[in-house]
Amino acid sequence: MKPLSYIQVRTAREAIEAFVAAGDSARYIAGGTNLYDLMKLGIEKPAHLIDIADLDGANRIDTGGDRLFFGGAALMADVAEHPVVRDAYPVLAESLSKAASQQLRNMATVGGNLLQRTRCPYFRNGANGVYPCNKREPGSGCAAIGGLDRSQAVLGASAACNAVSPGDWPVALMAMDAAIELQGLDGTRVIPISELYRPPSRTPHLEFTIGREEIVTGISVPKTAAGRNSTYLKVRDRESYAFALVSVAAGLEMDGGTVRNARLALGGVAHKPWRDPEAEAALVGKPATPDSFRAAARVLLRDAKGHEHNSFKIDLAERAIVRALTEAAERKGAPRP
């Protein structure tokens, strides 16, 4: 059988050195909730696993100061249940508690979750050349385009790929202007989450901008009024343990009945959490009414394109945005009961 090495490391430095030494066949592993799954499906075939779940301090959660900080290996469950996050930044806690199942959240890390790979059935199944997928086997083609596309993208798709980014947490982070702290060979750098994703274009197998050996060591979120008046709405085919058909991360900073500042990101519709400054600008100075929310939704969705089975997502997204912004406006900073 194919040999597989596994090591646990305590520092990012050790991890990176081990990764570089192992070469292309190395993968970092933390919760394993995505990687093991993909290994069983024959999509990921690592020869070396470097476990970074127990890096010193990597599960730190710090809510002091003007930013919330989450270590890359903090568990989804721990962040979701953190009292400050739950009470003061509902969009973050709700995006986590509505993701996966409790068992998965007990294992999965908030850093790893940023890099979760698509649930496109044509990507996940069909390894060994049963049918093509440009993510699985670059250049082989896409069976999803023109296939069962109910769950596929209506925004940002390319002729090579219409897969959707599956996460909830990244949608909330996108709306909240999170910064991703990365450690690599040359030390630490910080990028805004908006720079994490590559467009599918002709190379949909290249999903993220970070280097292969780089580690997500932390995520920080600025504390804002919009973060406090926020919500995460997830619309799905069952009440729990289902990926979003459409999800909305929304936050509003209000000045009486008028929007002073808006945050809005969509999940389940594109290869990345979809955010557009123009849609948010369309809300500023407007009354918190369904009409102005709908107008902003239409700006955000102006390039949306439906296909055989997924056109409903465009209408659903508009409705979900109106609902989410309405709820955010009603929150007015009040802690959730």
Binding site: N125, A143, D237, F243
Partner: protein
């Protein structure tokens, strides 16, 4: 050895366990891990198999290269159609007790590919992980042929099957002039319904462990609903002596029909064990659970014509379903529509379309779950057009005889189901107009439907051994797929012999036990329970005889019918001080044990002259988000008429489980087939949706009193399936009541509701 069953009057011992909510006798084993399932048996030298599944839906294999797999240390063998041994030639040797008309699928038989995920090779290795890895290295080349998997695209190419499967009668001939009566009806409904294919996917995936003993005999631990069915199948296919093989399935982690036929992992494990002469385990992966039988995709038309007072004038129900190219799987779908309501002009049509799929397979209430859904939605639509309460419309067309045959029902307390269910639900408070009930942004809808399922019985045998210590061992080769068979059979035996539950042990799931049919169709309590009662009656008679012969017996000269059995004693009915313990009878007469075997038959004469059925009334509240179209089932009341309920606890669990599945069928379950690839794409638990806990509300189950002297000696009909029937319709009707949107395409996902809300 046929026992004449006595009338249900025997069940009069006031404190007997029948009718009591006895907890599962196997519950402790299950929660402590002491119940072992097919994949949990092991031996030190056990070899592990992994199946390679076809990459195409139709065509043939042109080349198989197993060299890379075989080169791995620890890989023992790779079986393919090229190196398989000689197997049975005639189709009849491949048949099983649930096989429909046709030629059963033969794994690894030749190079032909008949359906996606068809097993094409079996890798045997020293570990499971190695077998799974090596399976990826088996290189297979195919010559693909055009396939058809789309029922809608091929429905015109359908045919009318005959009586092609046991338990299912072809539709009756049309009665009256349904076409003209429909045209003449002042109020009409004519609608098309579609039902997606559903795959069984019990929690326990199908697996077989074959233990190869030194003397060459085999013990086969299989996930099955019929140990004897599998025993016959493998003996026929592999040409083995019956005495050389024993099939065991004492615990089954759900099956719902998927275990009615021998599945290919059984064949594979047997192939490897017999060829390699060693113990082998083969289990299916979750995706491979989508490689065999399923509830078939269905397209239906129901046309109802009625007078303005709601009297049905015409009823037309047509259904077309998929079957495979090699077998005629039928579940008829339409017959219950001719049985449930009084109507003089009826046409029921059922056709099949052959597709390049594996043969479908019975799934909980096969046919009725699909067909009654369409009928009951059409009835709701008719009620809407008539401006009549949906419950009132059903009562208006209520029938005391089966219109399909003209025979009376052996018992039918559907009216009581309607009344008691409606009362429990609060149906009278329903505001009739759609969109007239709301709570904030949630539209509230109340819907109802009636359900019906057959109360079948076959013949079965059971054995009982009473020891000198007063402990009874009962047995029959039936199965317990989690439904409570162990418990119910224990209760029946304990009741007949007046023993405490703890003094009775029941064995099942073993091909060497007395003959029982496959466990399905809700017939097990009726079928096997009758045999258990019959054999215990014989033990009872023996005890009475022995007791009467004892010196100074207080029972001397007392007739059997004047003796009751309770608390481990034989007691004179009218003089309770006169009693003898069972152990005293055994010891006093020098009897070490009493062994009896008996067979119970259905009351054939009564069955020829009556229709036997269970009935239900289902009431559902849904809440639909008016902006997003999301649907939540908030409340369910299910009122069931199923004769005597032997165990209200396990029966309630069965109904609740079936209602949960009905919610899944109504709102979530759907195999997405990519017709270009000819395969199901959502073949795992994350993407193939069944209800999660958060989808399941309070389910209020009530059993109405139903007395039935004709169904069997127990007066019990069985509740395995009736619970699902009508649930999807009641949900659809509630959604319409909430929103005004009528969806006839199952499952009802939010996009379909949203399309109507726009």
């Amino acid at each position: 050895m046929t026992a004449i069953p006595s009338i249900p009057g025997f069940l009069k011992e006031p404190n007997g366990p029948i009718g009591k909510p006895v907890s599962r006798v196997d519950g402790r084993k299950k929660v402590t891990g002491d119940a072992h399932y097919a994949a949990e048996f092991t031996l030190p030298d056990l070899a592990h198999g992994f199946i390679v599944s076809s990459a195409i839906a139709r065509g043939r294999i042109t080349r198989i290269d197993t060299a890379a797999a075989l080169a791995l240390p620890g890989v023992i063998h790779v079986f393919t159609h090229e190196n398989r041994p000689s197997l049975a030639w005639f189709d009849r040797k491949w048949k099983d007790d649930d096989a429909p008309k046709g030629a059963p699928f033969r794994p690894l038989y030749d190079a032909e590919i008949h359906h996606a995920l068809q097993p094409v090779a079996l890798v045997i290795a020293e570990s499971f992980e190695l077998a799974r890895y090596a399976a990826r290295l088996v290189h297979i080349e195919y010559e693909a042929a055009p396939h058809q998997t789309d029922l809608r695209a091929n429905r015109a190419d359908s045919f009318t099957p005959g009586k092609d499967k046991g338990g299912f009668q072809p539709p009756p001939k049309p009665r009256g002039d349904p076409e003209q009566a429909f045209l003449d009806s002042p109020v009409q409904v004519d609608a098309e319904f579609t039902q997606a294919a559903e795959y069984h996917n019990p929690m326990e995936m199908h697996a077989t462990t074959v233990l190869h003993h030194d003397d060459g005999t085999l013990t086969v631990h299989d996930k099955t609903q019929g140990a004897q069915n599998c025993h016959t199948y493998i003996c026929n296919v592999f040409g083995l002596a019956k005495s050389a093989v024993r099939v065991m399935s004492p615990f089954v982690g759900g099956a719902f029909g998927s275990g009615l036929r021998p599945q290919h992992q059984l064949f594979m494990a047997m192939l490897a064990a017999t060829q390699l002469k060693r113990s082998v385990r083969v289990g299916l992966s979750r995706p491979q659970m989508f490689s065999f039988g399923h509830r078939p995709e269905t397209i239906q038309r129901v046309a109802l014509g009625a007078d303005r007072d709601g009297t049905l004038r015409a009823l037309i129900h047509e259904a077309v379903q998929e079957s495979s190219r090699n077998e005629n799987y039928v579940e008829i779908v339409v017959n219950w529509s001719g049985q449930q309501y009084k109507c003089d002009n009826v046409r029921l049509d059922y056709t099949l379309t052959r597709l390049d799929v594996h043969t479908p397979l019975d799934q909980r209430a096969p046919g009725a779950a699909t067909g009654v859904t369409a009928l009951e939605i059409a009835m709701d639509e008719l009620a809407g057009k008539l401006g009549m309460d949906p419950l009132e419309l059903r009562l208006r067309n209520y029938t005391e005889t089966d219109p399909n045959t003209g025979n009376p029902f052996s018992s039918k307390e559907l009216r009581a189901c309607f009344q008691q269910g409606a009362e429990r639900f609060g149906w009278a408070k329903r505001s009739p107009a759609p969109r007239s009930m709301r709570d904030g942004r949630e539209l509230i809808g109340w819907g109802m439907a009636a359900g019906v399922w057959d109360a079948m019985q076959w013949q079965a045998a059971a054995k009982a051994v009473l020891g000198v210590d007063g402990k009874l061992g009962g047995s029959s080769a039936t199965a317990d797929i989690g439904t409570g068979t162990y418990t119910v059979m224990t209760q029946i035996a304990a009741d007949v012999l007046g023993l405490p539950i703890g003094e009775v042990t029941f064995c099942l799931g073993d091909s060497s036990l007395p003959t029982a049919p496959i466990e399905g169709g809700s017939w097990t309590v009726s079928t096997v329970g009758s045999a258990v009662k019959a054999v215990c009656d014989r033990v009872r008679s023996q005890l009475v005889t022995l007791a009467g012969k004892l010196n100074d017996s207080p029972l001397k000269g007392v007739a059997e019918e004047d003796i009751l059995f309770a608390d481990g004693h034989l007691i004179v009915r009218n003089d309770r001080a006169r009693r003898l313990s069972i152990t005293d009878v055994m010891r006093g007469s020098g009897t070490l044990s009493i062994e009896e075997e008996a067979r119970a038959l259905p009351y054939l004469l009564a069955r020829a002259r009556h229709t036997f059925a269970t009935h239900s009334a289902v009431f559902v509240e849904v809440r639909v988000d008016e902006d997003l179209g999301t649907i939540r089932v908030a409340r369910v009341v299910s009122a069931i008429a199923a004769g005597r309920i032997i165990n209200p606890k396990t029966a309630r669990s069965q109904i609740q489980g079936a209602v949960v599945w009905g919610i899944g069928m109504g709102l979530e379950e759907e195999a997405f087939t990519d017709h270009t690839l000819g395969r199901v794409m959502n073949h795992d638990y994350a993407e193939y949706h069944v209800p999660v806990h958060a989808d399941v509300p309070d389910i209020d189950v009530l059993f109405v009193e139903e007395h039935d002297d004709m169904v069997n000696a127990l007066g019990a009909k069985g509740v395995g399936e009736i619970g699902i029937v009508g649930v999807p319709a009641a949900i659809a009707n509630a959604i319409h009541h909430a929103t005004g949107v009528r969806v006839r395409d199952f499952p009802i996902t939010l996009d379909k509701v949203l399309a109507g809300l726009r």
